[in-house]
């Protein structure tokens, strides 16, 4: 399938998850997208899938402590200045579960987009705003690039006989990773400018025409948004 309708379909599913009002509906959408992501190669899928699920789990765990909603109280904790008394109620838990499913669904929709789409073709099929689409495609490649950089930093540390241990040890890699990605982006910008990027009168490779599946995917995307808004 051409990437633009596929991207629209994933966007439609993410929008449906944001518009839906029932936890079960959102959970089903998240499970569907998880199934799509899990079919990607193991070596590529894990940062996306783990990232999405860990973020959702963290949201589920933290939300009840910062929300103040009535309901059956399951636990009461200490009183903290500004925040007040910590407690966990049934309403807070159900709200946390709903928001966690939403976050998981949206993250997994992005993961499916990153894992399955041919971003080159997506850029080429962009009839307008090509620069913006290219920027999004390059940003999408940031995750695997950061993964490679992190592996390189850890290897260099181990090469000095130092094993990065625990969350704190790995967290110290975040700053050099960010700085490295900025440095790389400058090099790439220079290379792109040297190759004429931004010049007026650019053309593009001709694209093959749409088949049967592309309009169907677009229609499914629209249906997903409408169903999500009205019935889920």
């Amino acid at each position: 399938m051409r990437p633009a309708p596929a991207a629209a379909l994933f966007f439609g599913l993410a929008a449906a998850a944001l518009l839906a009002r029932h936890t079960l509906s959102v959970a089903v959408l998240a499970a569907l997208l998880l199934g799509v992501c899990i079919r990607a190669p193991v070596s590529r899928r894990w940062p996306y899938v783990i990232g999405a699920l860990v973020s959702a789990a963290a949201l589920f765990v933290l939300t009840p402590f910062v929300e103040r909603l009535p309901g059956t109280v399951f636990w009461t904790g200490p009183t903290i200045p500004v925040v007040g008394t910590l407690d966990v109620t049934s309403t807070e838990l159900s709200g946390a579960l709903f928001n966690a499913c939403r976050l998981a669904a949206v993250s997994l929709a992005f993961a499916a987009y990153a894992l399955w789409l041919d971003h080159d073709r997506l850029v080429q099929s962009a009839g307008f705003a090509r620069r913006s689409v290219l920027a999004v495609a390059l940003a999408t490649r940031l995750v695997p690039a950061l993964e490679r950089d992190a592996a390189g930093l850890i290897e260099a540390l181990r090469g000095r006989g130092v094993e990065p241990e625990g969350l704190r040890g790995r967290a110290r890699l975040l700053s050099p990773l960010l700085a490295g990605s900025l440095e790389r982006s400058l090099n790439l910008a220079e290379a792109m400018e040297a190759r004429g990027f931004g010049r007026a009168g650019a053309t593009r490779l001709p694209q093959p025409s749409w088949g049967v599946r592309e309009p169907l995917a677009l229609a499914a995307a629209v249906v997903a948004v409408v169903v999500g808004a009205l019935w889920l």
């Binding site: 070596s43 041919d118 971003h119 080159d120 850029v123 080429q124 290219l134 390059l138 490649r141 695997p144 390189g152 930093l153 290897e155 260099a156 540390l157 181990r158 090469g159 000095r160 006989g161 130092v162 110290r172 890699l173 050099p176 700085a179 490295g180 440095e183 790389r184 090099n187 790439l188 910008a189 220079e190 290379a191 792109m192 400018e193 040297a194 190759r195 004429g196 990027f197 931004g198 010049r199 009168g201 650019a202 053309t203 593009r204 490779l205 001709p206």
Partner: protein, 454 residues
């Protein structure tokens, strides 16, 4: 008639204390291959960027003088406007790749310069065919070897059919055969088309055989500009390290001691289960320096990582005595801390005194408070070396330590390594001159993974 020229060109990067180029004047004729030589930081890359219009348009700074490319003044015409007339192949191919598929990558420049859509694919495929890479058209760039990626990047520049081709250390990641093939191919293709080529290199032996003319830069000044015949004589007199084969530098006096690392029938495969190292046996003894050589993709780095303990063999044994350290190919991996001394101290439990000593050993005394990212590429190489020397390892494994290092600095590094007779050193290198200068013996990893000891 000159195709391009620089006239009294001076340039100082924003925030820099000294100019990168000082009063440089040079003309480039169509079909002429010009080799730019000089030490690290002498202004070679800046000169190439000035011919591409990237200086001053991309890199802000103080610019004086004039650069003309095919009648276009680079002060008024930026790099995007010059693209097509000029094409640049940068040192690190991974930093210039925009797309994920090879055909799209080669087509990118053609699209930007407004090539008629019906002609883009044909020209991209022709360019790939001209570098012998048409079979890669549908592949992902992430699947390519370093040599293949460099060919694809070359195809992307040749597809534009430029009048001026700029090559900034294009062979730094290639073995000798691949480098020779790439340079010969480039020179043949560009001579056929009458393209002017400007090439900077840190391994000058090969390009000296192919070029017509040599420019030599020192601290941003052009100290030699002449035909290649005169250049050889001038280099022998004024810059002998640039024409040395390394054999006259090394004094091989080391005596081998106890074994610090022994590989016995070691094999290794990555996730694709293809054996990269197959049944390799090797002994590294205290006091000796071993050069591990072989073509790209022959498994040198994997073997080095097995020796250093970064990988565990799938079969066979690796035994080590004492501590091993491993220098990665990429000095950009030694930038974890905010200060150079703290970075070096990572491997010695934060001992800043030891770190300062290691920095002094590699010629970076006084750099303790500098941020690793503020160092030049050559200085980063030395910082990385200090980081692996500081723990005083019993086994030192260096993976391509001379990438991007100028000839003079290579011989300094060889002397530094040879000054210590207490450790075993394994050097993975494509650089035959450096290997000649530093090694007691050679181990060659052939394409069929057979180790040949010499």
């Amino acid at each position: 008639m000159a195709l391009a020229g620089a006239e009294s060109l001076s340039f100082t990067y924003a925030g820099a204390a000294a100019p990168a180029l000082r009063d440089v004047s040079a003309c480039l004729a169509p079909g002429q291959v010009t080799l730019v030589l000089g030490r690290s930081g002498s202004g070679k890359s800046t000169l190439l960027r000035a011919f591409a219009g990237l200086v001053p348009h991309f890199h802000g700074g103080r610019f004086s003088g004039r650069v003309d490319i095919a009648g276009l003044d680079t002060r008024r015409h930026g790099p995007a406007r010059l693209a097509g007339t000029v094409a640049t192949l940068f040192q690190d191919p991974e930093d210039q790749v925009v797309f994920t598929r090879v055909l799209n990558e080669v087509a990118f420049g053609l699209e930007n310069v407004g090539t008629p859509p019906a002609k883009i694919e044909a020209r991209a495929l022709d360019a790939l065919a001209s570098v012998g890479a048409e079979h890669l058209a549908g592949r992902l760039v992430t699947e390519l070897s370093g040599g293949e990626l460099q060919r694809v990047c070359l195809a992307a520049t040749l597809a534009l059919e430029p009048q001026l081709l700029l090559l900034d250390e294009p062979t730094s990641q290639l073995d000798l055969d691949a480098a020779e093939a790439l340079l010969e191919l480039t020179v043949r293709l560009t001579r056929d088309r009458g393209t002017a080529v400007v090439l900077s290199e840190q391994r000058p032996a090969l390009p000296l055989d192919l070029c017509d003319r040599v420019l030599f830069l020192e601290d941003g000044r052009l100290t030699f500009d002449g035909p290649v015949g005169q250049a050889r004589a001038w280099l022998e007199e004024h810059q002998p390290s640039f024409v040395s084969d390394g054999g006259d530098v090394a004094v091989h006096l080391h005596h081998s001691g106890e074994v610090t690392c022994r590989l016995a029938g070691a094999s290794y495969a990555y996730d694709d289960h293809v054996l990269v190292v197959d049944d390799a046996s090797l002994e590294l003894r205290r006091g000796e320096i071993v050069a591990l050589v072989g073509p790209n993709g022959s498994g040198k780095t994997t073997l080095a990582k097995l020796a250093a303990g970064l990988l565990e063999p799938l079969s066979g044994r690796v035994e080590r005595t004492g501590r091993a350290t491993y220098l990665s190919q990429d000095p950009g991996r030694y930038v974890l801390r905010e200060r150079a001394d703290e970075e070096v101290a990572v491997g010695v439990d934060g001992d800043l005194a030891v770190a300062s000593g290691a920095l002094a050993t590699v010629g970076l005394a006084g750099y303790e408070a500098r941020h690793p990212r503020d160092l030049s590429s050559g200085e980063r190489e030395r910082l990385a070396l200090a980081a692996v020397l500081a723990p005083e390892p019993d086994l030192l494994v260096l993976d391509e330590p001379t990438r991007g290092v100028d000839p003079e600095r290579k011989f300094d590094l060889a002397a530094l390594l040879r000054a210590n007779a207490d450790r075993a050193t394994l050097v993975v290198t494509h650089d035959r001159v450096f290997a000649n200068a530093v090694a007691d013996r050679f181990v060659s990893l052939a394409p069929d993974q057979e180790l040949v000891h010499a």
